[in-house]
Symmetry: C2
Subunit: 468 residues, 2 copies
């Protein structure tokens, strides 16, 4: 119930009225709602699911313990999510577990410490690759990638083509794909070179330019920390604060605008508002019925922002046994492994033991439609390569396939193919009448991450208040 709920005006009989409807109770929508309420607006947040958090989802391990099957990591320069979490009383802890990481290539496992996999062939290549990517990404303005020198050229080829042209060899391309596998839910061939260099430029903030190292890094990087109680707790706390303004199980089917405002039709009834913030992924937004239609340019842009393909595979054990072996539970796997990156996802107080692996990109495309038991076996074999055969002694095994989620349709974020940023990018956050946009995809920093979602919510709220 919103604080201004009242009999609707005669021309919108049956609608509840509010100043602003926010569609989507992920971090972006909840942040926007919070800002608007603070500014004195009445707000109704309509969420399609029966829960808040969007791409953040805690998985209950019992005994008050959780692990995450959605977005989970935060790190330095992600100031907005870190400050917000602090404000709602959610604390962080260092994600990295002491111990050695395991690098698996062609079935052979090697233990190592630090950031650099022990691969004599890939290592020099990776150094060169990171330097070249860094140089190129430094030329991109995160807020206007289409203004990059050679934008036209860079947006005419895939990232894979760019990497090969930059004389980055197969080994290094494969290592970069290993990262993209979870960062894009895709491969270097899925994305434009310009998009990918832009994406690197977003791994920072106004004073710290984005770097690949920050994006891929654990301690000191984007995988530095996690939230005590799970990342979804931040969204849950925000929803509590919004005190009855969040309406669950309210998928929005139609958004109709006229000169005086917006009517939002949902399965939980209709709302009439002066303005709307749509805070769902562009793809999901494009599947709402729009009246009037989205501007053709914006619709075309949203047609060109497909989601990556990503599943999180979680194995639960009585304890994190690998730690006794001096292992961090982290693994990097090459050579056609279904799981290419894995982490120790054990709750902060140490039990039960949890291993989490990303099944993403081309591996998702190979594995997602196979029988669950077959896939589980393949995943646990990957885990066993990293932590040994006790990986098979699970007490629970959970998969969260984000592509099968009706209200996300993929994961972790939207990736643009060649030609999209230069021809359509400027239509990204452009308001459509009384409708404003938020969501992780709409941020110039940490695009696709929690920090980007929070930033975009704040930007949308400020833009809306500014137009009032």
């Amino acid at each position: 119930m919103t604080d201004t709920q009242s009999t609707a005006a005669a021309d919108h009989r049956g609608s509840r009225t509010t100043d602003v409807v926010v569609i989507g109770a992920g971090l972006a929508g909840l942040t926007a709602a919070r800002e608007l309420v603070a500014a004195g607006k009445s707000v109704a947040v309509l969420e399609a699911r029966d829960r808040v958090g969007g791409r953040l989802l805690n998985h209950d391990l019992g005994d008050g313990q959780v692990t995450e099957v959605g977005g989970q990591f935060v790190g330095p320069t992600q100031d907005h999510i870190l400050a917000l979490a602090k404000e709602v009383g959610v604390t962080t802890y260092q994600a990295a577990v002491p111990g050695e990481t395991v690098y698996v290539n062609d079935g052979r496992a090697k233990r190592f410490t630090g950031h650099t996999p022990p691969d004599l062939f890939a290592l020099p290549d990776m150094g060169i690759a990171l330097a070249r990517i860094g140089q190129a990404a430094a030329k991109v303005d995160p807020a206007a990638p289409w203004q990059t020198p050679d934008a036209r050229e860079l947006d005419g080829m895939t990232y894979e083509t760019w990497l090969r042209k930059a004389e980055i060899t197969g080994d290094a391309v494969d290592m970069i794909n290993l990262f993209l596998n979870s960062a894009y839910g895709g491969e270097a061939r899925d994305a434009s070179a310009l998009f990918s260099l832009w994406y690197v430029s977003t791994f920072g903030n106004e004073t710290n330019p984005g770097t690949m190292e920050r994006g891929t890094g654990t301690t000191g990087g984007a995988q530095d920390s996690r939230f005590v109680g799970g990342s979804q707790l931040v969204a849950q706390r925000l929803a509590e604060e919004l005190d009855g303004r969040v309406h669950l199980s309210a998928p929005v089917r139609r958004i109709s605008q006229d000169s005086t405002g917006v009517t939002v039709v949902s399965d939980a009834g209709d709302w009439r508002a002066d303005r709307v913030i749509v805070a769902v992924p562009p793809l999901v937004a494009s599947r709402i019925v729009w009246d009037p239609l989205l501007p053709a340019q914006q619709d075309q842009l949203f047609q060109r922002l497909p989601f990556g393909t990503l599943m999180k595979c979680v194995a639960v054990y009585d304890k994190p046994f690998w730690r006794e072996d001096g292992l961090s539970g982290m693994g990097l796997l090459r050579g056609g492994s279904p799981i290419r990156e894995m982490f120790d996802n054990t709750p902060p107080d140490g039990g039960p033991g949890v291993l989490m692996g990303f099944l993403g990109g081309k591996e998702w495309r190979k594995w997602a439609h196979r029988p669950a038991a077959e896939r589980r076996g393949a995943v646990l074999r990957c885990f066993a390569q990293v932590v040994g055969d006790r990986a098979f002694d699970t007490i629970d095994y959970v998969e969260q396939d984000w592509t099968a989620e009706q209200w996300t349709q993929g994961g972790p974020t939207s990736v643009a193919a060649p030609g999209v940023l230069t021809d359509f990018g400027q239509w990204m956050g452009r308001p459509h009448g009384h409708v404003h946009w938020a969501g992780a995809e709409f941020s110039p920093y940490w695009n696709g991450y929690m920090d980007g979602a929070v930033r975009s919510g704040r930007t949308a709220a400020a833009e809306l208040l500014d137009r009032d």
Copy 2:
């Protein structure tokens, strides 16, 4: 009203029942319905628009004359659409008008006859380009492009990258983009190399392998002939034959399946059927509410089949004055012209005079959002470069922007970026429970063309009958 309309079964109260619901009254849906009726099935065709024809649309010139603002050309090897038109009594005529074509490069116009523009720089390049494209396309199986040797490599790069790697120079790439501008509503950078070579391989039939020359050609090629009475007439005749089975203004909002059949919810009421053929573009199909959801792999594929961007610009004159000057009305324009390809679209009996130009690909992206008067001026200046200043003396000027059409959302067809065909292509026509697929995008020959639409409708009907 369908011939089996009856009180719905108790569990689908209020639904009308029929053996098959066909969604979409374009050529694919109408063809499928025709085949099913011939096989004794009761059929209801649900069409969102208040007209049939989908991407075919006649524009009334008055006095019983029409010109087309949607798909219009047919040619040799397009056996299915040609035979079907004959069966419903629609005849064809040669599209090409006697006279010289005009080639405009950097503002300079040159007249020529035949297929080959008079450009000493571009000409040898084009010869090499066509030979290399032909060689590469010949290795592609139109029904299974992902099995092409080097499919992985070809699907890792844009067509632009492939053209440059094949040492096809800027002039030739620009000429190919001129063709893609109307064929894709896009540019060589928008598409995967594998998709583009596959697309060339579809310009044929079971006995005549596809060639680029057939796709780009006028007489003897894909732009050989037109329909007397306009292409939409074929769809209108099919709908007449279906005698009350076509329901207009019936946009489908939801498709629900259970073990015994399918419930289709439309603005014109609900239908219950044993099976459904969805004969709308993949993008449009993906915006229907699906219960159960589409398989994630198929949804991901549809997320990756955006439409091109295409507008048809039509100027009407009291007569085809250019013919007196020995001009065919055909023009090829390079060097940043908004219109890059134009044709004489005068009705077959010679009046009024009609010029039609494609505003597509990157030119659409530059021009579509500008003021209509400014765009009209730019288009007529292009026409004037080809037929002289009398191009400004219009009696009518019409634009048909297919991206602004709610039930198409782009034109002329769907184009796949790198990575899509190899990772998702096999999910293209796979039935989803009781739901089968048709539409120009689902054909291995003349994909995106009228012939492909008719083929796909026949294939879907046969598949459905085969499963019964």
